[in-house]
């Protein structure tokens, strides 16, 4: 029987070699997720090590400047290692340790998930190996060095388009090679069951905090929660708590690269079709023969041809809306937030900021938007400078 379904999406489409490993992972997750000792250990790490809860910041200048809805920023960029990725890595690595694994592997796009995995591996004493597309190792050279500094081995993947999807391919291949002592810390709400559920659960702390913090500040729920979407982990983490709250609109912002009508984009809901790849049934950018498309975005973290199965289902049911945001719009938002609020957002998160800039002025002043600021932008400064024609190299 197929497991881990979200509507028609999800499932476990992996080689037989991995089936016992993912079954074992599912059993461990079910055993520990409500285990008081595990929960308390994870809570302590989230608080003392990651620095949670992250702030829900009222962006007053931005609100006044745009002249519409009140804007709050969920500051996942203040999380240790500079993004939401750590939440999932703490959970999965702690589980890996309980399962008796001594080694973790992970894929990474922008390098944020790789850095977060390498960080927790260092903390928990696990051997760590990261797979990163060669193209991305060039775009995000500082993160490569960061991972090495943290004791991880970084493998530059030279197959296919040499970006995130190829890094996932290579991490999966490595996992089939060595499952007995190794756990694959998948970084997004994608892949075979139970990953989409496990990663969502570890990231759902974002939405729970938003709800409690906004209730305290405003005494009510937000009208809109928005986040950028590649595989979709920060968005799923922000959305999950609000899915049952019909009054809250959920908006995922996809990377449209040079535009949804240009082949150089990564907007899966806008341009993708139903397929079965990377362990899951979901939407993918692909051709009529099911060959996966070489997608593009300025943001290495959103440069992925698929989307997590729960997002695909939220799109099907209409519970969440997915909108395309271009490179240019994201870069403008990157600069805008830096100048307006003194916060440099990750280029990934800038896609959500860009959409907020579009819709906030169209909404009344009594409305509230929460933007999940999934990461900080230090890693992107050199690339944005180059985008603007400045000759800066890191």
């Amino acid at each position: 029987m197929s497991k881990g379904k979200f509507g028609i999406h999800g499932g476990q489409f992996v080689p037989e070699t991995l089936m016992n490993a993912i079954n074992e992972f599912e059993e461990a997750y079910n055993k520990y997720k409500d285990d008081p000792e595990f929960v308390s250990e994870l809570d302590t790490l989230m608080r003392e090590y990651a620095g949670r809860p992250s702030r829900l910041y009222y962006a007053e200048k931005m609100t006044n400047d745009l002249g519409g809805a009140k804007i709050y920023l969920k500051r996942e960029d203040l999380n240790h290692t500079g993004s939401h990725k750590l939440n999932n890595c703490l959970g999965q690595c702690l589980l890996a340790k309980k399962m008796g694994k001594t080694r973790v592997i992970a894929e990474t796009g922008a390098g944020q998930h790789g850095v977060a995995t390498a960080t927790v591996a260092a903390l928990l004493g696990l051997e760590c190996e990261i797979f990163m597309g060669k193209e991305d190792t060039i775009r995000q050279a500082l993160n490569v060095y960061r991972m090495k500094l943290l004791g991880a081995k970084v493998n530059a993947v030279e197959t296919g388009t040499m970006t995130l999807k190829d890094a996932v391919n290579e991490a999966m291949r490595e996992w089939t090679n060595r499952v007995s002592d190794t756990h694959y810390v998948l970084g997004s709400v994608m892949g075979p069951h139970p990953f989409p559920t496990v990663v969502r659960d570890f990231q759902s702390v974002i939405g729970r905090e938003i709800k409690a913090q906004l209730l305290e500040k405003e005494g009510r729920l937000p009208d809109v929660v928005m986040a950028c979407v590649g595989g979709g982990s920060n968005a799923m983490g922000a959305f999950y708590e609000f899915i049952k709250e019909d009054s809250v609109a959920l908006i995922g912002c996809e990377a449209a690269g040079l535009g949804v009508d240009n082949p150089k984009n990564a907007a899966t809901i806008a341009n993708g079709t139903l397929g079965i790849f990377h362990g899951m049934k979901s939407y993918f950018c692909q051709n009529e023969y099911g060959q996966i498309a070489p997608v593009y975005s300025i943001s290495a973290g959103l440069d992925y041809p698929g989307i997590g199965p729960e997002h695909a289902n939220l799109a099907d049911t209409g519970r969440a809306q997915y909108v395309p945001v271009t490179d240019e719009e994201a870069v403008c938002a990157f600069e805008y937030l830096s100048k307006t609020e003194g916060i440099i957002p990750a280029i990934e998160s800038s896609h959500a900021v860009a959409h907020c800039m579009k819709i906030a002025p169209t909404m009344g002043k009594d409305k509230i938007i929460v933007v999940n600021l999934s990461g900080r932008g230090d890693k992107d400064v050199a690339a944005i400078a180059r985008y603007r024609g400045e000759d800066i190299y890191e």
Partner: protein, 258 residues
């Protein structure tokens, strides 16, 4: 009656794999005809996929060469249909779930049946997800080959009980590719299969030399070789027919010599 099972009747079966369209479909066509005359009992035709996660570098590169040369699923079916009567052995298709699903699983299996392809092997679709394929395979009489791996343990009986055609025993951890040594206990895997069914067992992943093939054939009913052949194709390009067929003959002789 299972045509695939029949292919195991004349002693041990030799099952070569090639990536269709590498370096072009005209070469694939010649290889299918000539390998069948050189002792192949079943030929696995690989339909190339952009992201073959169960393949090592050799077959990944073959898939990319083929796709870059413009190979499509339709062109492969057309070629097979045209030359099917000249191919003296059974044919199976090996590809990933996405090319089948996006083509339309119903249409894909109908095409297989129309082209005389008796079985499909889909390495990223485990027992739990058979529902995506089995109803369409049954509808058109195409057999769905099950895979078992060195990590399958308690899953082997469950998988074997429902197997069709042959059971594909994955001999090594990891992805496809030539290995100098195979450490998995193949005899144990095969005896677990035999304890619940009479489906023939063929061993693949990592086998390249006649010695390895001979040793595997002691326990299994057939031997599958992919990367070693794809390497010869990569080396000789359009001139690969003779070296590939010489290799097929030597492997068939080795597995019959036990």
């Amino acid at each position: 009656m299972s045509k695939i099972k029949d292919a195991f009747k004349n002693g041990k079966a030799f099952i070569p794999f090639i990536t269709a369209g590498d370096p072009d479909l005209a070469t694939t066509e010649k290889l299918l005809v000539e390998m069948s005359r050189s002792g192949a009992d079943i030929i696995e035709i690989g339909i190339p996929f952009s992201d073959p996660i169960a393949e090592g570098v050799v077959i990944q590169e073959a898939d990319l060469r083929s796709l870059e040369a413009g190979t499509t699923t339709d062109k492969i079916f057309d070629m097979v249909k045209r030359v099917r009567s000249e191919i003296k052995c059974e044919l199976a298709v090996m590809t990933y779930m996405n090319p089948i699903f996006v083509y339309g699983t119903d249409k894909f299996m109908a095409k297989c049946s129309e082209c005389g392809i008796s079985a499909v092997i889909v390495p990223d679709t485990p027992f739990e997800e058979k529902g995506e394929l089995a109803p369409y395979c049954d509808k058109y009489g195409v057999e769905l080959v099950s895979l078992i791996a060195p990590t399958s343990h308690d899953r082997i009986k469950m998988i074997a009980k429902n197997s069709q055609g042959f059971v594909y025993c994955v001999s090594s951890m990891g992805v496809t590719g030539v290995r100098s040594e195979i450490t998995t206990d193949i005899s144990e895997m095969v005896s677990l299969v035999r304890s619940v069914c009479d489906t023939p067992c063929a061993v693949g992943f990592g086998i390249s030399t006649p010695e390895q093939a001979k040793s595997m054939a002691q326990y299994a009913d057939g031997v599958i070789v992919g990367s070693a052949i794809v390497k010869i194709v990569a080396q000789y390009g359009r001139e690969c027919i003779k070296p590939v067929c010489d290799y097929v003959k030597s492997m068939k002789e080795a597995i019959l010599s036990n």
